[in-house]
Every structure is written in structure tokens, then in C-alpha cells.
Subunit: 244 residues, 2 copies
């Protein structure tokens, strides 16, 4: 059986997340439906990141086994013809049999984008979280340094009975400004459900001066979701890439 | 009476253009409705550019007279609260009585964006024209040089019985590449209806080798819409700014 890897971009707004759920529109469901239309096989895909409802992806990685003889470039074109316009396969290639989009991934990278000015945006309204009060990026960056390394991130994630181990390793956590836009780029071996959005909500507290970098670190060490800030909206979040 | 100028951003997709039309959703209609909600005055706005249905704006300029005592910053916030989320007032300021967004404008600037690669885009699908065949940007730039100056642009515009003078002056016409995206930036004293989209459709012919830069110039001089290329989709076009 061939093993194929694909890089997938999607607008999360009309999806109930990545993972297939009976009766709901999901990215996995649409991709598997398109694969069926193209190959006539019932294919199950694996994905690097289980993005939540409303979360976007510019570089989601999926892999799947197929018996199709279609060359990768034809597969790409056929899948894009079969897919709705809010999912696109950007690249498609044959890959070694042992490659698995989820289990082979060494790390995942997300970007959260805040529009930090008085006026909202019409053109990018589906892709940014609008926050009016001016944020102190230097303080937010200082607090973010404490995320680097292996920690228990239970304070920031949605409580999920299926996730028993809440320890993850963060490799990079950086804020940058681009005009009125503020980006938070975070790379970790893996993420807990809603972890990035809980982190950003708490780091916004730091940016407004509600808490300082020390208190942020205390909240992390407390492993108590009730102490941290709100979960910011899904639409500001984008799965950027997975590293292998 | 106060005279106020506002910079407006909108996602053109759900509008029947800028200019008010009875029974149709237009940018002008929504802005005048929001002004009525905020000031209780029946205000008529002037706009720098009459964008067509589906065309976006990142920096449309409008001006209007009002008797409201609201400071400009309060007006901005109140208008944004009253407007639907696909129109945003980015800036708002008092301006000299003789300023008129349309008549005072010296030039207008538009950007047309093409995604030039095999795969379409999900995230930017409302803002780019997807064109698969690889375009030769150098040839397109060469042909665009002939646009600079004062010419009759009838070959590229929608025939409009209300527009008797089809002569316009182009100050700048430049193509640039940003990864798979290609931008066409054009500045002119004013534009004919669908002129930018007709120009881009014909310049795509140049980019594929269907015609050369000389033939492009001949088409311009012929002043015959039937000789030029297709009108490319509105969603790739954005009104960027007006200069005063």
C-alpha cells in the first residue's frame, strides 16, 4: 500500500474541528469524503494536530494509505476539485511506509493573532482576535519565557477526562508585532486541548498589567484552570506546521 | 456644519458595490444608516472611489457634513458599534469645510491580487483570483509601462452610457511577487468602471504569452472593449487609498 502525506490549509470557521464526529462537519470528514470520491476507497487519515472548532490551519499535515495509482500531482488536483472551497490540499507526496502524520511529528507550531487597536477589521475579521486596550508586549514576552521547557500545563487547558498526562515541552514561545497586529508563535512537542488559547488569555492579563510575569509563573505551577485567564476566541488561532 | 473625513475598510463580498442603490445592500447605504443611528441626521456621504459589487477596500475615503457634537474618536467608536462586521471605520477626523472625499482626491490606488500556483487557497479565497498557469511577470511589467501617462482606456472598461470621457491618467502600474501571490498596484487620477479588472485580464494574456507587450499597446490604442481580455473577478480587487 502507498503511504501519502498532504499539507492542508483550511478556514476553520464552518468546521466542528479537525477530528471526525458523527453528524457534524469536520475537516477529517470532508477530507475522507473527498478521498472516497477520488479513489473509491474508504480511507482513514491521520493528522498532526487535532484543531478545535473554529481553529484555522495553514499547514496541517495529514497522512493516509491508499491503493490508488494516481500520481501525487493528479491526486492533489483531484482532491482540490472534490473538496469544498474552505479546505485546500497545498502539497501532496508519496512518503515512506513508516511515516505517520501524528505519531512521527516531533513538534507542532501554532500562531495566535491579536488585532490591538481601537478599530476592528473587516477584511481579516475571521482570522484575528480584536483587543482594544494597548498591550505591553515586552511584559508578555518576559512571562512567556517561563513556558520554555517541560512543564505541567493543566492551568491553561480545557479539562479533558481523556487526557491524563498534562505535561508538555515547549520549545519556543515568541510575541512579535506587525503594525497593529500581534502574533504569538508557539512550538511544542504537543498541545493540550485549548492550551494555546488559555495561554494567550492569561498572557493578555500580563499585557494589561492585571498580573505580572511572576504571578503568571505561579499560575502555571498551580495546575489549576480556575486561576488562569479566559480562553480567547478560536478564530485567532492557526495551526502553522508540524516538524518531523 | 462640521466636515468629517473617515477611512473605511470593507469586505466587498456581500455588497452590491459602494454606491447606494434602492433595495440593495451597499457600503454607502450601510454607512448612512449607521450615521443616522449615531447622529439622528439624514447624512449623505461622498466617497473617493465607486467600487463595484464584490470589490474590497482597505482605505476607502469618505466625507460628510454633520451637526453632531461627538468628538471624532467617539464618532469612530459609535459608528463601528452601529456598523455590520464587514465594514469598519479605521480613522475619523474633522477636516476643513472645503474638503470633499471625491472631488478633492488627486489620485486613487487599487491593488489586484492573483494567486499563481496549482493549489487554490482556503484562508485567502475571498481576496485573491486563483490562476494556475505560471505567469511571466517580466512581460506583464513591460506591457504595463505603456499604461503610464494620459490615454483613452475604453478598451479595458465596461461600456457605461454615463461615462462619456474615457481618458484617464495613470501615474503608476507595477507588478510584484510575494511567494505565490502576485500583486498589481495601479495609481491613476480616476478609473473607468471595471477598468482595473479589464487591464488585469488583458495583462494575464501577456503573462501567458497569448499576446505580447506590443499587441497590448495596440489593444489600448484601438479603444475597442471586444479586443481586450476578460474582466477578472471582483474579489481580487481592493481599493487601497486616495491621495489629496
Amino acid at each position: 500500500m502507498r503511504n501519502v502525506v498532504a499539507i492542508v490549509e483550511y478556514d476553520g470557521i464552518l468546521f466542528h474541528g479537525m477530528q471526525v464526529q458523527p453528524g457534524l462537519r469536520t475537516v477529517q470528514g470532508e477530507l475522507e469524503q473527498a478521498l472516497f470520491l477520488v479513489t473509491q476507497e474508504r480511507i482513514r487519515i491521520a493528522a498532526a494536530g487535532r484543531t478545535d472548532a473554529g481553529v484555522h490551519a495553514s499547514g496541517q499535515v495529514v497522512s493516509f494509505k491508499t491503493q490508488s495509482y494516481l500520481p501525487a500531482t493528479t491526486l492533489l488536483r483531484a482532491l482540490n476539485a472534490a473538496l469544498p472551497d474552505d479546505i485546500v490540499v497545498k502539497h501532496c507526496a508519496d512518503v515512506a511506509a513508516e511515516f505517520h502524520a501524528r505519531f512521527s511529528a516531533q513538534s507542532r507550531e501554532y500562531r495566535y493573532t491579536i488585532l490591538n487597536r481601537e478599530a476592528p477589521t473587516a477584511l481579516a475579521r475571521s482570522f484575528v482576535h480584536h483587543y482594544r486596550k494597548l498591550l505591553n508586549l515586552e511584559e508578555m514576552q518576559k512571562a512567556s519565557e517561563s513556558l520554555i521547557g517541560t512543564h505541567d500545563f493543566a492551568s491553561f487547558a480545557r479539562i479533558d477526562p481523556d487526557v491524563s498526562n498534562t505535561i508538555r515541552t515547549v520549545f519556543r514561545a515568541e510575541w512579535c508585532r506587525d503594525g497593529s497586529l500581534i502574533h504569538f508563535d508557539i512550538v511544542a512537542n504537543a498541545f493540550l486541548p485549548q492550551m494555546v488559547r488559555g495561554l494567550v488569555g492569561t498572557l493578555i492579563w500580563v499585557g494589561t498589567g492585571k498580573i505580572d510575569a511572576c504571578r503568571f509563573q505561579d499560575i502555571m505551577h498551580a495546575r489549576d484552570r480556575r486561576l488562569a485567564g479566559p480562553t480567547v476566541p478560536a478564530k485567532g488561532l492557526c495551526f502553522v506546521k508540524a516538524n518531523y
